[in-house]
């Protein structure tokens, strides 16, 4: 498992992930989407070495710019900026950065442990699921993502339905007949998953950046890295904080759809509530940095649990990783654990390894990363765009996929402008075939009756939660609207 090639890919992934996470405008999701085509021809374990490295590095990298320029590189590091930037202003940038690195490492390792303990057990439970349960759980995941990703649930629902509909194009998963292909040969195999991912999360971002390119020159006034490595005393004082924030992060990771951007705030607020020195908060407080950074990396392993066992990703990043799993020809769930235990072990190992590399890189090479971050956005974006086009071409050596990516990029760009959330659309595309075939199998089992979804306790619970998560906000919003 820890062969040289895996270690090299993991190292590369982690370093590139840190860069993508650190630069505001490049996101970890984008990094994973961009590098997916590279993994297409690889074996499963090295592919995941690269992608998990990008994931872990990307989540951690946000803290660097959060501390040094007060702009979190990813939304997951927003709370870090509140405490980290004042510390950098006080000349304690290195203290804050090293604490952030160590916290991220602790959170990441804890969550990796939970993944190893919990995932096989949950997978065994999932073994007993039939089509109605799978349909209910997928619908549940989709409804959670739609309701949380957007303020307006209806936009989330439209977005999810659009994704699901896009996934129905091509060969029918059960009967095998052609549908919605409009006579186009390229659509027979359906909309390319990687191409649409690249469009949704990379091309749209490039287009958005084109608007703000002139207003985005803050990187030059970066705080200098001064100070010393964080002292053992501070680390010792934060032991309980590390534990609590890890638990919060892992818990949030386990719930579909909440994700990194919420974990850091919740854990930061908890740390603030529990502290003995509340007056330090906001002025540059080590506890705050530790809480935020521990929890956002603790999400990583937690979010992989439902992704690997049930096929429900916790956030956009794990959704893309789910796509990666499917591209490797692997399906999430009990079969993944039974049929390909070496891949599962590889995922565990590479996640842990990525955390170790993150610690080494974060403590040892922080100056190098800071130099790379200074590369201006207007150089990076064209390069990202080329990688998008070449990457989507390389999947099937097909130019049609490049146009698919471009089209999804434009759709995503417009959707972002109108605040239609993208994660439900992505999840719809990924889960589409699964949801549809399980729905139809269930209906066939019950000879046309929808009651089957409510006869089984587990599926009933998930369907009811899913429906109420979608219907309640719609009702509330519209009733309020009328009474105004």
């Amino acid at each position: 498992m820890f062969s040289l090639i895996n270690m090299i890919f993991c190292f590369l992934g982690t370093s590139i992930g840190i860069v993508f996470g650190a630069i505001p405008g490049l996101t970890a999701t984008m990094a994973i989407a961009l590098f997916l085509p590279f993994t297409f021809g690889m074996e499963s374990v090295p592919a995941f070495a690269l992608l998990l490295g990008l994931y872990v590095g990307g989540v951690y990298g946000g803290s660097i710019t959060a501390i040094l320029i007060n702009t979190p590189g990813t939304p997951g590091a927003a709370a870090t900026a509140v405490e980290g930037y004042p510390l950098a202003r006080q000349g304690k940038a290195l203290d804050a950065l090293s604490l952030a690195t160590i916290s991220s490492f602790i959170g990441g390792m804890f969550s990796c442990g939970v993944l190893i303990l919990l995932a096989p057990r949950l997978a065994r439970v999932a073994l007993q699921f039939g089509p109605p349960e799978y349909f209910a759980i997928s619908l549940f995941g989709l409804s959670m993502v739609s309701s949380i990703a957007s303020k307006n649930i209806m936009k989330g629902i439209v977005s999810a339905a659009f994704g699901l509909l896009a996934a129905t194009i091509g060969i029918d998963p059960i009967v095998g007949s052609m549908r919605l292909t409009f006579g186009n040969v390229n659509l027979v195999a359906g909309i390319g998953l990687i191409a649409s991912l690249i469009g949704l999360f990379a091309i749209s971002e490039v287009l958005s950046k084109l608007e703000t390119i002139n207003r985005n020159k803050g990187i030059e006034d970066m705080e200098k890295i001064t100070g010393k490595f964080v002292s053992l005393k501070i680390l010792k004082a934060n032991v309980f904080n590390f534990l609590r924030s890890s638990v919060i992060g892992i818990g949030i990771g386990l719930i579909p759809a909440v994700g990194v951007s919420m974990a850091n705030w919740i854990s930061y607020n908890e740390a603030k509530r529990m502290t003995k020195t509340p007056e330090l908060y906001g002025e540059g407080c080590f506890e705050g940095v530790a809480a935020s950074e521990t929890s956002n990396n603790a999400v990583t392993g937690g979010a992989l649990v439902p992704m690997l066992t049930l096929g429900i990703p916790g956030d956009a990043m794990t959704a893309v990783l789910l796509g990666a799993l499917m591209i490797q020809g692997l399906a999430p769930g009990a079969r993944l654990f039974n049929d390909t235990p070496e891949v599962v072990r590889g995922i565990y190992g590479m996640l842990a390894l990525a955390n170790i590399f993150m610690l080494i890189l974060g403590l040892g090479l922080i100056n190098v990363f800071v130099k790379i971050i200074k590369v201006p956005t207007n150089v990076l974006m064209p390069l990202v765009l080329i990688m998008c086009y070449i990457g989507s071409y390389a999947i099937h050596n097909n130019f049609f996929d490049v146009y698919v990516a471009l089209l999804f990029g434009i759709i995503a760009y417009l959707s972002l402008k109108a605040k239609f959330p993208l994660p439900p659309m992505l999840l719809g595309i990924i889960l589409g075939p699964l949801i549809e075939s399980n729905f139809r199998r269930s209906i066939t089992m019950s000879r046309g009756s929808l009651v089957i979804f409510f006869e089984r306790p587990l599926s009933a619970v998930f369907i009811i939660i899913a429906l109420s998560a979608m219907i309640y906000p719609v009702l509330r919003e519209n009733i309020n609207f009328k009474t105004k």
Partner: protein, 177 residues
């Protein structure tokens, strides 16, 4: 009572709707992007509903849910919800509380330029091959992104396409056009 209120709203809505059209025609800055995107989804949903309603709803294998069932369900969801969003947005516009598109004309032109050269790039790629097309595209897109330093400009436009070529050809064994 509510009927009168509804009539009033409908009247106001009608009056404002005429104005929206004027706004969209003459003032690029005041388009409601929510309305446009909702309309886009609505029209798309309606079109797809029409197409998918012609699919079969029952086959010998799956008697109760054929290839058409799921797409039709989804298009109905899209049409209904984007319809509600459109109506709400129109009411918002008539109340003057709608968000307008915050995009400068110059930025919009840049985005269009980038999209146009992207399409040209994808087409030319198939004719002149990877390296020439990509070097050209890198240079043009760097230009659109406002990067003007001469020496790095040339270096990046030439070196980056070569690096990508080496990674794909040598390391991944994926042929490029």
């Amino acid at each position: 009572m509510w009927i009168i209120a509804f009539q009033k709203r409908l009247f106001a809505f009608y009056k404002k709707e005429v104005r929206i059209e004027l706004i969209t025609r003459y003032d690029m800055k005041k388009i409601s992007i929510d309305l446009i995107v909702s309309l886009m989804f609505f029209v798309f949903g309606l079109g797809m509903l029409f197409v998918s309603s012609k699919l079969r709803f029952s086959t010998s294998v799956t008697k109760f849910a054929g290839p058409g069932t799921f797409p039709v369900m989804l298009t109905i969801v899209i049409v209904v919800f984007s319809g509600i969003l459109i109506v709400k947005e129109l009411i918002k516009i008539s109340n003057g509380t709608a968000d307008t598109l915050k995009i400068k004309k110059r930025d919009l032109i840049r985005i269009l330029k980038l999209l146009i050269i992207s399409v040209i790039y994808i087409e030319i790629l198939q004719v002149v091959g990877y390296l020439v097309a990509t070097i050209g595209f890198t240079a043009l897109s760097l230009w659109i992104f406002g990067f003007r330093k001469k020496v790095p400009f040339a270096v990046i436009s030439i070196i980056f396409p070569i690096i990508i070529l080496i990674i794909f050809k040598e390391f991944l064994n994926i042929p490029l056009p």
